[in-house]
């Protein structure tokens, strides 16, 4: 037996000396978008994505400001990009063994975000939410927004089958407009026009109340601007769209962001800029500042 092992080792050794293994491919250190003639697919599993090289971007724990994320459970997020006529579409893939698309007390959903500097050029702000005079544009996809219930009342009854509710003040109103107005009165964030509530399948705001109407199903992305920690402010109407699918124990999410109309803004075709990313794992109670984030990585868009 010992002789046999020695022979095998010898053969292997001779073999190695005769033929060296091919050198590993050079690491991909930038997100180089591939151009596609038609609309880039929002389906992250579409074969069109094979044309785009994937950069494995290291994920870091958000350990700059409190509340911090103490541990980084996911090493990298795989980033690809396609450019079509008017959009750059990112494909983000990361490992997450638990699918979290419900939001409730103590329950948080999975999410991912793309951050781009607002201004074109290489003078990028801090990768941590931008700076007061150097804003960043952030597009956030949340599983809870994509999978939000079509009917809040039905979803509530399903989640709490033994619930006993005496009465909602608005339930007695026969006129749908009156009912909607009353229901909004008891949903102060909705009445205040909070963009977050537009993603929560509440009834649309009655006339005279602010806030965007609920986006159609599939609109799971919110666009926002930030000028430093704690300044994230959602734009009135999202321009980006996105879609997430589960692929084994991984999320594959696409986020399509319109190209900038002005040359001095990012992103524009033919110009080099930067992008950063963040990932939230709902099961790990990641929310807000409790997240995994990346540094800026170069983003190259073809002419």
């Amino acid at each position: 037996m010992r002789t046999s092992i020695a022979v095998i080792v010898l053969i292997a050794g001779v073999s190695c000396t005769k033929k060296a293994p091919p050198p590993p491919p050079p690491p991909i250190t930038e997100v180089r978008a591939a151009a596609v003639p038609d609309l880039a697919p929002l389906d992250g599993l579409d074969v069109a994505w094979d044309a785009a090289p994937e950069m494995a971007v290291p994920l870091l724990a958000q350990d700059v400001v409190e509340p911090k994320q103490a541990v980084s459970g996911v090493p990298t997020v795989g980033v690809r990009a396609l450019v079509d006529g008017g959009r750059v579409v990112f494909r983000l893939e990361w490992m997450d063994g638990t699918e979290d698309h419900e939001v409730g007390l103590g329950r948080f959903g999975d999410a991912v975000a793309v951050q781009l500097p607002v201004a074109a050029g290489g003078d990028v702000p801090s990768a941590q939410m931008g700076e007061p005079d150097k804003p960043v544009r952030i597009s956030v996809w949340k599983a809870a927004w994509q999978d939000r219930p079509a009917d809040v009342a039905a979803e509530q009854a399903s989640r709490y089958p033994n619930e006993a509710i005496d009465h909602y003040p608005f339930a007695a109103a026969a006129d749908p407009a009156v009912r909607a107005e009353m229901e909004t009165r008891y949903a102060p964030a909705r009445a205040a026009g909070n963009p977050v509530t537009a993603m929560a399948s509440l009834p649309g705001p009655p006339p005279g109340h602010g806030g965007p109407p609920p986006p159609p199903p599939g609109f799971a992305v919110q666009d926002a601007v930030a000028r430093g920690f704690g300044t994230l402010t959602a734009l009135p109407r999202p321009a980006s769209v996105g879609r997430g699918v589960r692929h084994g124990d991984r999320w594959v999410v696409t986020i399509a962001i319109p190209l900038a109309a002005a040359a001095e803004e990012a992103p524009t075709r033919g110009r080099r800029t930067y992008a950063a990313f963040a990932v939230w794992d709902g099961s790990a109670r990641n929310v807000g500042a409790r997240k995994l984030r990346t540094n800026w990585v170069p983003l190259v868009l073809p002419p």
């Binding site: 911090k68 809870a144 509530q156 909070n194 977050v196 929560a200 807000g288």
Partner: protein
């Protein structure tokens, strides 16, 4: 962190923001000895503010039986256990506040309740601290068998933990009255305030996916009126007003008089470090160690002062004014046998006799040949 002076602790402490007190501070006194846990306050609040979807188990005002009542379950016990020793020496707190005990990477020491912790708002109702020996009746003053009712709203703290917790700055303290509010247009539902408030008086609404809290009925406050839970209290245990810092206390300000002058009303868990602005007259029948933990080192003296009210016209008169006007009392006085309250503009709000006139009728009505009931 900044360094601020917390007069309830008698010392400087760490806080997330520099000290910046409002022009005047919303405050209240609750007399626990009068509360019967009828929950009228809870219903007054609920029907006014939290009858919408996602607010079903949200009680900005709740009344719980101590020691075994909690809403949410274990809200205070869990934090007290995590906070470590909470010693006082000569009126100065020697332990750590929740800000000073913040774990690495956190803004403060807090915990996130689970959904089921809110599912039993009146758990422990009327349970006494221990079994009653040799019988099923409870005699007041029994050594171990005691309980009392703690009515709770947001404390609109001077150093709010909810405000410190919010990484977005979506919570603010109003300069004009010190009321703490969540900006409903800006909250993104991170639930950091729910985790951070030690009194658990911020709530997550799963339908709007934002957090909500007691607003001290600010539309009423702005009109000189006391909040719903105050004016609907049938036990007349509450009075809302304005509290000064100790050095600026005025004897004719009802809250100042009870809190700073007579020291008969005490903050709830002052050791947490928030300088809460709802003050409690402690229950007279509860063992001192429990009261010390819940209301700080002044509990025993407060009870002695409270018991003396029967022979103290000013103190008795002020308590008589509780629940006798829907307006906020800015100034009071006791003259002869009458307590008088005035509003912000000097207008007289109400005057109440210290002793109501009593007429005792004969128990038998001769003319109708029927018995009478004398009802106080």
């Amino acid at each position: 962190m900044a360094r601020v002076f917390n007069h309830q602790l008698g010392r400087v402490m760490s806080y997330w923001f520099p000290e910046h007190r409002p022009e005047r501070q919303f405050a209240a006194v609750f007399d626990t000895n009068k509360c019967i846990a009828c929950q009228t306050c809870s219903l007054a609040c609920k029907t006014t503010w939290t009858s919408g979807r996602g607010q079903e188990y949200m009680l900005w005002n709740n009344v719980e039986t101590k020691p075994y009542g909690f809403y949410p379950i274990g809200w205070d016990a869990r934090l007290l256990e995590a906070l470590g020793p909470q010693a006082w020496k000569d009126g100065v707190y020697e332990g750590r506040t929740i800000f000073e005990a913040a774990p690495a990477g956190e803004r403060l020491l807090g915990f996130a309740p689970e959904e089921l912790d809110y599912a039993h708002p009146n758990i422990g109702e009327d349970e006494s601290a221990a079994a009653v020996d040799k019988g099923a009746h409870l005699v007041a003053g029994h050594a171990n068998a005691w309980m009392f009712y703690a009515a709770r709203i947001c404390n609109h703290c001077t150093f709010p933990a909810c405000l410190a917790s919010c990484p977005r700055g979506s919570i603010y303290k109003r300069r004009e009255d010190g009321i703490v509010l969540i900006d409903q247009g800006r909250c993104r539902g991170y639930q950091e305030c729910v985790r951070g408030c030690p009194y658990k008086k911020t709530f997550f609404n799963p339908v709007t996916r934002t957090s909500e809290k007691c607003i001290a009925c600010f539309p009423k406050i702005e009109r000189g009126l006391q909040p719903q839970c105050f004016v609907n209290c049938i036990g007349k245990i509450r009075s809302q007003g304005w509290v000064s810092t100790p050095e600026a206390a005025r004897e004719d300000n009802p809250i100042d008089y009870l809190v700073h002058v007579r020291k008969v009303a005490l903050p709830l868990y002052p050791q947490f470090g928030l300088e809460p602005n709802v003050y409690y007259v402690p229950p007279v029948h509860v063992p001192a160690p429990f009261l010390l933990q819940m209301f700080g080192p002044g509990a025993r003296a407060a009870i002695a002062t409270y018991r003396s009210a029967a022979h103290d016209r000013t103190l008795a008169g002020l308590f008589t004014l509780f629940g006798c006007t829907q307006s906020t009392i800015a100034r009071f006085a006791v003259r002869d046998d009458t307590a008088i309250a005035w509003g912000d503009d000097g207008e007289e709000l109400v005057r109440v006799p210290l002793r109501e006139p009593v007429t005792i009728r004969a128990p038998w009505d001769e003319s109708l040949a029927v018995p009478r009931w004398n009802i106080p």
